[in-house]
C-alpha cells in the first residue's frame, strides 16, 4: 500500500515538478497545460507534496509498530529488516563477482542490497524534499527562522534531489522491476504481495531456506486474473509515463538550470 501511494504521488510530483522546471520550453508549457496551467500545476505539486509528507509520517508510525521491542537487535538488524548490514556489503561484492563470471551468485535473503538502497534513498530523499519544499512553499515564514539565502540552497537541493530521484527511478528501478530477464514482464510481488517459489529459490535462496526451517512458508496461490490484468495495465502505464518524462527531460535538459 505504501509503495502504491508512493508510486502515484511520485509520478504526479515528477509530472507537475518537471512542468514547472521546464516551463520555458515548449514541452514544459504543454505539460503544465495538462494540469490547467503553471499556477495550477504548482498548486497540485504543493498539495501532493503535503500528502507525501503525511504518508511518510504514517510510515514512521507503521515502522514503530513493526519493531519488536523485546528483541530489538534482531528486529532492527535481522534478515527481515531493511536496515543495511555488513552482510549486504558481502552480497554486493559476491554479486559483482558473479556479474563478472568470477564466482557463484550470493545467497540472498528477503531483502537484497539494491532493494535496501532503493528504500533508504527514499527514506532520506523524502524528508529532504519535504523540508526544502516547505521552505519554498512558505518562503516568508521560513525566512523568519533563517537567512533568506537559505532559500537559494533549498531551491537547488530540491531540484537536484528531484532530478536524481527521477533519473534513478525511471532508469534503474524501472529496469529492475520490469525489464530485466528475471522480472520481465513485471515483478508482480509489489501488487500480488507474494512471489513464485521458483523465483524465490532462484534469487533469494537464503530466505526460502529460512522460511522452510521455521515452517513459515505459505502457499497463497496466484492472484485472480482480473487483478493481474489491472496491475499490468497500471504498471505499464507508469512505465510509459516515466519514460515519457525521462526522454523529454533529457531532450530539453540544456534549457534548464538548477538555480
Amino acid at each position: 500500500m505504501f509503495h502504491l501511494c508512493l508510486m502515484l504521488t511520485f509520478l504526479t510530483q515528477a509530472a507537475t515538478g518537471f512542468s514547472r522546471l521546464f516551463i520555458t520550453t515548449p514541452w514544459g508549457k504543454k505539460s503544465s497545460n495538462v494540469f490547467g496551467g503553471y499556477e495550477t500545476a504548482y498548486a497540485i505539486h504543493q498539495w501532493v507534496g503535503i500528502i507525501m509528507i503525511v504518508g511518510f509520517v504514517l510510515h514512521l508510525f507503521y515502522l514503530a509498530t513493526k519493531i519488536r521491542w523485546q528483541n530489538l537487535s534482531e528486529s532492527v538488524f535481522g534478515p527481515d529488516s531493511l536496515v543495511p548490514t555488513w552482510q549486504d556489503a558481502k552480497h554486493l561484492r559476491q554479486r559483482l563477482g558473479w556479474l563478472l563470471g568470477l564466482e557463484p551468485p550470493p545467497q540472498l535473503d528477503r531483502w537484497t542490497y539494491w532493494e535496501k538502497f532503493d528504500y533508504w534513498a527514499v527514506f532520506w530523499g523524502l524528508p529532504l524534499l519535504a523540508v526544502t519544499g516547505l521552505m519554498l512553499m512558505y518562503p516568508v515564514a521560513a525566512s523568519r527562522f533563517m537567512p533568506g539565502w537559505f532559500l537559494n540552497i533549498a531551491a537547488l537541493l530540491h531540484t537536484a534531489e528531484a532530478i536524481l530521484a527521477v533519473l534513478y527511478i525511471f532508469i534503474v528501478h524501472f529496469f529492475i522491476g520490469h525489464l530485466r530477464p528475471t522480472s520481465f514482464p513485471m515483478n508482480e510481488g509489489m501488487f500480488a504481495g507474494s512471489i513464485t517459489l521458483e523465483e524465490a529459490v532462484h534469487e533469494r535462496p537464503a530466505w526460502v531456506e529460512r522460511l522452510e526451517t521455521k515452517g513459515e512458508m505459505e502457499d497463497v496461490g496466484p492472484p485472480p486474473l482480473w487483478f493481474r490484468v489491472l496491475y499490468f495495465i497500471f504498471g505499464y502505464s507508469a512505465l510509459a509515463f516515466g519514460l515519457y518524462i525521462l526522454i523529454n527531460g533529457l531532450v530539453y535538459s540544456r534549457y534548464v538550470r538548477l538555480h
Binding site: 516568508v140 539565502w149 537559494n152 540552497i153 538548477l258 538555480h259
Partner: protein, 232 residues
Amino acid sequence: MSLLIRIKRHSWMMATFLTALILLPQDAPSQEEVASAIRRYKDREVSSGYYEEYEIKPRRQLPLVGVPGVSRGIFPYSPSADKIGTRSRLADSHAGIKFYERRRCDECHGEETKDIHTTRANLTCRQCHGIEPIAGINFYYSPLNPIRRHAYVCSKCHEGASASFAGYVVHEPAPGSPTTKETFPTLYYAYWLMLVLLVFTMAFFIPHTIMVGIRELLSRKRKAEHDDTDAT
C-alpha cells in the same frame, strides 16, 4: 410624426442599452489580465504594467547635449563615464553608456534575465529595479538598497517580507563556478555535493543494472540449453 418615430426608436435603443447594462455581466478586467503575460504583477502596482510598450525606454536625453568643457555630441556625456566599473552606488547606474536608450537590459545583463523571477513569474527588470534613471542597488535612495528592499520591492508580491527574506539572492551566480566558491560558498558546495551524489549513483547503478540484465540473459540461455540436453 417623424420626430415621434425618432424618439420611439431612441427609446428602444435606450431600453436595449439599459437591459444590456443590467443583464450582461460587468466589465471583467481579470479576463484581460489572464490573457496578459504580465498579469501576475499588474495588480500589485500603481503603474501601467506595460513595461515593454511604455516604460522600457530610458529617460529622454538629447544626444547632442554635451557637458560644457568636457565633451559634445552623441558620445558619452563624460569621457570617463562609460569606464566606471562599479556602478552600484550611482544614482543613475547607466549614466554615460553609449546609445543606452536604444539598448535592452538583456543585451548586457543576459545572465540576470534567466533567474526564476524573470522566467517563471514573468517579471521585467524595471518592475524591481525601478524607473529611469535606474539607481545602483546600493545607492542610498534606491528601492533595492538592502535597508528597504524588503519593504519597497519584495513585499509587492511577498506580503510580509522581512529584511531576512530579502537576503534571497535573486540573480544567483552559476553554482558550480569557481567564483561562486568565493561569493556564495554554501551554494557552491551544495551544488557539488549533489552533483557528485548524482554522478556516483548513476555511475554505479547504470552499469550494474546493464550487467545484471546481460548476466541474467546468459544464465537463462544456459539453463534452457541445459534443460534441452536433459530432455534429449
